[in-house]
């Protein structure tokens, strides 16, 4: 049985766990803990080590989806989780501009771990306070080449589209020679 993985990263409360939950065929293995900090109490629980979802591709291949903890104090997990990934998805909460800088920093950190293809998912696009995609691109300082995709993590179709776009990016980068098959 061959296994491959993708990583879903992003700031605290960006929607990473929800994203994985939408497509995983197993109940997401989550390491959530109650939030202790008052400042971060925008939700009850947060991921402290990783989330873990699975999609069986066929009888010989399994895709694992790993969600990273969003809080900086658990960033020791990031490098461990990024090892051997096919690519990664940076989730950004479109309605919380205060997290854009953190999202940008996380993106750069993951690029430094592994120069694999990635896409950015502008989550919570269904919320009234969500920023427009074009404004987010400028705010996140993403070049036009980087895929910034509107997303609603609880919507399976939107999540599928993000995953597919990442896979297309992997193929495109293989064709342009920027990514080679791991030896």
């Amino acid at each position: 049985m061959q296994t491959v993985k993708m990583v879903v990263t992003g700031p605290f409360n960006a929607g990473k766990t929800e994203f994985i939950r939408s497509v995983s065929e197993i109940e997401v293995v989550s390491t959530e803990r109650k939030i202790s900090s008052e400042a971060e109490r925008v939700k009850d629980q947060t991921t402290v080590a990783m989330d873990f979802g699975r999609i069986s591709i066929d009888e010989n291949l399994v895709l694992y989806l790993f969600g990273t903890p969003g809080q900086r104090r658990f960033d020791f997990m990031w490098e461990i989780l990024s090892e051997g990934m096919l690519g990664f998805i940076v989730m950004v909460d479109s309605a919380r501009p205060e997290t854009f800088r953190e999202a940008r920093n996380i993106l750069e950190t993951f690029r430094a771990y592994a120069p694999t293809p990635y896409v950015v998912a502008a989550n919570k696009q269904d919320e009234q306070d969500a920023w427009e995609i074009n404004d987010m691109r400028i705010a996140l300082r993403l070049s036009p080449q980087v895929k910034l995709l509107p997303c609603v993590a609880k919507d399976k179709e939107a999540v599928k589209k993000v995953l597919l776009e990442l896979l297309y990016s992997i193929l495109e980068e293989m064709d342009t020679g920027e990514v080679s098959a791991p030896k």
Partner: protein, 283 residues
């Protein structure tokens, strides 16, 4: 869709850059306690700005720019009752009071000074309204944002540096023990003297700022200059208990499943990706 947030998280420099790059048209409204600032843009250029709910009249702008004196303002206001700023501007030009250039330069200076105030705001709620345009009777200009952004970035850098030097306004100040410093021989301006008069280990910098009506950047700038000159030292305010550092909770990361990277040729790798694509499409 919204373009809203807080300057604490998304600075005015970043906002102006966004407006400039996206060539936006509309009005940025920034609010902080009782203050409100409106900055209008047309295709990414600054066109109009005012603070408060009432826009300053043209005569007041020209008075502040020292283009009109108080007596002239009074006479013009009496004669131009009911006139719009545009009509008044034409009247002033036609009656050779002022040139068109003088009026435009005065307005530009006023609009820029309004925007410049925002660079000193550490926080404030903002939203960008695409449908809110300057009132039709007001004179608009076209000012490129690049210089404003560069100048703003410089101010923000200064702000960051000051925040680095004085990370918390909850600290207090005390006069340094350095012998030979005679305050009477110091060359301080009125604002600095005001701050000096409040220096006491019982007063936090925040309290001094409030008492002297200074914003965060102004008080930091003054305190930093005092520290640099060796006049004062930062101390913990008297009566405030020392906080014990919190021990971080140690989490043992769970063992992650063994992942094997796809081995073999580029063709095999492509085939693997295509299999995943097919599967995900079918979920």
């Amino acid at each position: 869709m919204a373009l809203k947030g807080n300057l604490r998280d998304f600075s005015i420099t970043q906002l102006l850059n966004l407006v400039n790059v996206a060539r936006k048209t509309g009005t940025l409204v920034v609010e902080r306690s009782q203050e409100q600032v409106y900055v209008s843009f047309r295709e990414g250029k600054l066109s109009y700005a005012h603070d408060g709910t009432d826009a300053a009249s043209l005569t007041m702008v020209l008075y502040h720019a020292k283009k009109l004196n108080a007596a002239q303002v009074r006479i013009i206001n009496e004669r131009s009752r009911g006139m719009s700023d545009k009509e008044l501007g034409l009247l002033l030009i036609n009656s050779n009071y002022l040139s068109q250039q003088e009026i435009l330069t005065s307005l530009q200076t006023y609009y820029l000074s309004t925007v410049n105030r925002l660079f000193t705001w550490g926080e404030g709620l903002f939203h960008f309204d695409n449908d809110l345009l300057p009132p039709k009777d007001k004179i608009t200009v076209r000012i490129s944002l690049e210089n404003l952004i560069i100048e703003g970035s410089r101010k923000m850098r200064e702000w960051e540096q000051l925040q680095g030097e004085i990370p918390s306004l909850e600290m207090a100040l005390k006069f340094s023990q350095r012998p030979g410093v005679n305050l009477r021989n110091l060359n301080l301006n009125a604002d600095e003297w005001k701050v000096i008069s409040f220096i006491n280990p019982k007063n936090t910098i925040h309290q001094i700022a409030k008492a002297t009506n200074k914003n965060d950047i102004e008080i930091r700038r003054i305190v930093y200059s005092f520290i640099q000159a060796g006049l004062v030292d930062m101390v913990r305010p008297e009566g405030v208990p020392v906080q014990q550092p919190v021990q971080p909770i140690q989490f043992v990361p769970p063992v992650q499943p063994r992942i094997s990277l796809p081995q073999g040729s580029k063709t095999e790798f492509k085939s693997l990706i295509n299999r995943i694509i097919t599967r995900i499409r079918s979920i």
